[in-house]
């Protein structure tokens, strides 16, 4: 069975807490806060004002430039404020606040339950519809999907890779999507194949989800989806990383930054994103909701919700029953998720799950000296030397950190996870990476000015 070539770890997947919970449609929030930045790139501009009436699915934030994404209202009602509010990490971001009145949709959206498979649009039309619908990568990176599907001149896509790996422990939203929204996903894959002009798509799924693998294969056969195959992958974190997945599926490695997946002919897209693409292209439905897992060992109940964006995170935690005492609430899973410090923050596009860890589970051990065991080097899936990168960042040796390729780091956390001395390796590497990237951009800007 295939997997990516170097590094990686085997954390317990902890999926048993929520994997058998079918997707439930979450009640609509009475008030939704919708952030104008839920993607990588430029923040969108609000196009509504206080007092405006909006419908579900109506555009409320306009994308600025190519690398940006539209934002739509997830509910219908009246805009009560356009102002800065804290996001999950406590940073103040521009948000549109809508008070809900009923649930009236924009009438161009097809809300009938029928599955619509046939698509005769041209690639340009497909990409335009995806752009209008404000679709971003739902695996967590929130990269605008229309940018990914716009193949640069001179490059050619050879294969579409659908990311159904979900290697992050605890999370099961992609798993439930693959089981319950299979037809939508597969039609979405067909549309992506059409958009980038390839005949082959591979859905990569880790072998800890044998029923998803079997079910997708069955539907592919039953409904005759041509050119789409499911590839079981050996369970290993971080297989869901874009570069790791491409290497696992094709055996090809994407060169270090700034090379993109298309340089090896791959276009990668998450399973939930494929569903969103189906809805946008076939049903004219913008991205206003997603499947989100609420999970943790100490919760009263765990769930996989289909929830509208803008729903306060606190509501989701409330329904699951947060335990008392010290807890860490995560937007995402325990390896790459971000700690939520403000639970009034709204649900955003990139949130595939909310994980609750007890203080004990998330406690960091006492930091000791590096014993040069080399476990971080062995675990690094990018072939870096985390113990050196972390030390260089600590000493503020930015030039040397750059020489040691710190910008290659994908922040998967394998190094910190394996360190027997509990060194906060990734904390320092992240600082080093950000500083080096700032330096590189400053140099590029200075060079441009000279020219």
């Amino acid at each position: 069975m295939r997997t990516f070539p170097i590094g990686g770890i085997h954390p317990h997947d902890n999926k048993e807490w929520s994997k058998d919970k079918a997707i439930e449609v979450l009640e609509l929030p009475d008030e939704a806060k919708i952030a104008m930045i839920q993607h990588i790139g430029a923040p969108s501009t609000p196009v509504v004002q206080k007092g405006d009436k909006v419908l579900t699915g109506q555009l409320i934030g306009q994308a600025v430039g190519f690398v940006s994404a539209n934002i739509h209202s997830p509910i219908s009602g009246t805009v009560t404020a356009v102002d800065a509010y804290p996001n999950g990490q406590g940073q103040r971001r521009m948000m549109v606040v809508i008070k809900r009145e009923g649930d009236e949709w924009v009438d161009t959206i097809d809300r009938t339950p029928e599955h619509k498979r046939e698509c005769t649009l041209t690639p340009q039309e497909i990409v335009a519809k995806i752009k209008d619908a404000g679709i971003v990568g739902l695996g967590g990176a929130q990269f605008p999907t229309h940018v990914k599907l716009s193949i640069p001149d001179g490059q050619k896509a050879e294969v579409v890779i659908i990311n159904g790996v979900e290697c992050e422990p605890y999370l099961t939203s992609d798993y439930r999507t693959m089981l319950e929204r299979t037809e939508m996903m597969l039609t979405g894959v067909e549309i992506v194949m059409r958009a980038v002009g390839v005949k082959r798509a591979v859905i990569g799924v880790e072998n800890n989800k044998p029923d998803a693998i079997a079910h997708i294969r069955e539907v592919i056969k039953r409904d005759n989806y041509v050119g789409i195959e499911v590839m079981p992958l050996k369970m290993r974190y971080p297989q869901g990383g874009e570069k790791q997945l491409i290497a696992a599926v094709t055996g090809r490695q994407v060169a270090p930054p700034p090379a993109l997946p298309i340089s090896v002919g791959a276009v990668v897209c998450n399973v939930s994103t494929a569903v969103a693409i189906y809805e946008a292209v076939q049903k004219n439905k913008p991205l206003i909701e997603r499947v989100v897992t609420v999970t943790g060992k100490h919760l009263k109940t765990t769930h996989n919700y289909l929830a509208r964006f803008g729903t306060p995170v606190s509501r989701l935690f409330e329904l699951a029953g947060i335990p008392e005492g010290d807890v860490k609430l995560l937007n995402g899973g325990p390896m790459m998720g971000r700690a939520v410090v403000d639970i009034t923050a709204p649900l955003i596009k990139g949130c595939s799950g909310l994980t609750v860890l007890s203080g004990k589970e998330a406690a960091r051990g006492k930091e000791l000296q590096c014993i040069k065991c080399g476990k971080c080097v062995e675990a690094c899936p990018m072939g870096l030397e985390p113990y050196i990168l972390s030390k260089l960042a600590k000493l503020q040796k930015w030039d040397m950190a750059e020489e040691h390729n710190t910008v290659d780091c994908i922040e998967c956390g394998c190094c910190s996870y394996t360190c027997p001395s509990y060194l906060p390796l990734l904390d320092y590497i992240r600082i080093g990476k950000q500083t080096v990237m700032t330096n590189i951009r400053a140099r590029a800007a200075a060079n441009n000015n000279k020219k």
């Binding site: 070539p5 170097i6 770890i9 954390p11 422990p169 490695q253 994407v254 060169a255 270090p256 090379a259 090896v264 947060i322 008392e324 005492g325 010290d326 807890v327 860490k328 995560l330 325990p334 390896m335 790459m336 998720g337 971000r338 700690a339 939520v340 410090v341 639970i343 860890l357 203080g359 589970e361 998330a362 960091r364 051990g365 000791l368 000296q369 590096c370 014993i371 040069k372 065991c373 080399g374 476990k375 080097v377 062995e378 690094c380 990018m382 072939g383 870096l384 030397e385 390729n405 290659d408 922040e411 956390g413 910190s416 996870y417 394996t418 360190c419 027997p420 509990y422 906060p424 990734l426």
Partner: protein
Amino acid sequence: MATRLFAAPSPHIHGGETTRRIMLDVILALMPALAVSAYVMGWRVLFITAVAVAGCVVFEYLISRFLLKRGSTIGDLSAIVTGLLLAFNLPVGIPWWIVLIGALIAIGVGKMTFGGLGCNPFNPALTGRIFLLIAYPVQMTDWTTHAPDALSGSTMLAEVKGSTYDAAGNIVLGNMNLTNVNFMDMFSGYMNGSMGEIAALALILGGLYLLWRRVISWHIPVAVLGTMAIFAVCVALSIGGGELCYQLPLFHILAGGALLGAIFMATDYSTSPMTHKGMLIYGVGIGLITMIIRLWGAYPEGMSFAIFIMNAATPLINKYCRPKRFGTGQTAKK
């Protein structure tokens, strides 16, 4: 009780591996060899081992608390490992006060001078042993006192040391005829030598445990022992071949400190390379130097010196054997 949120950057979970657990694994892995040694050589083995371990722990505690003025580091159990390995490298008849001096040198000079665990460039236990070998050569090579009856006063490596060149330039083995060697005795521990190096089977079991626990990888032990075996086969071929072709490599792997060194001493984290490629180079270097000293050097055994020399080369190996950067392999398109 209310719910209290707390925050920190990812990753939010840890694999559970700790320095203490790793050291505990090494200690456990050394226990079979200690047991065999005590069985073959008597209770004094346990006494000397206890002196070495106690010496290392106490010296580390005193140095870190009163000289370096920082918290005690003995909780990580690495001082116990150093003590055990030091004891394993000593003859059983050695006076206890020499063991204490060895412990002081191992911990004081070999380890704490450089900042403690993970910072030392040379294996602390070997630092102690080599110091003692030079300072107390008589006591350090007195194998008679508690030897099993079947064996005389010198180690087998010292016996083959008499090897000379014949007229054609070939090596001739000295007093020993390898066909008389009982390899099963060597395997189970009935041979002369330092306390911890005699029990080949027990050492291999310990090594397998460390491999299973992923404390060490196979690269260093296999490179060291493989190089020694290949070297020995070449020597055997050059002096006539025949049965020597398997006897000589087997002899060199089982005799002296080859297994103890390859499995437990050379794999010391802070003094060995970080990458698998580096580990192989390092291991081959140790194997070569050991065989050169064993065959042509002034000492009968070369393992300690070989590891010591390659310890010195480790920073250089680390510099030139870096891991392969993702995306720069041949499979990637430009």
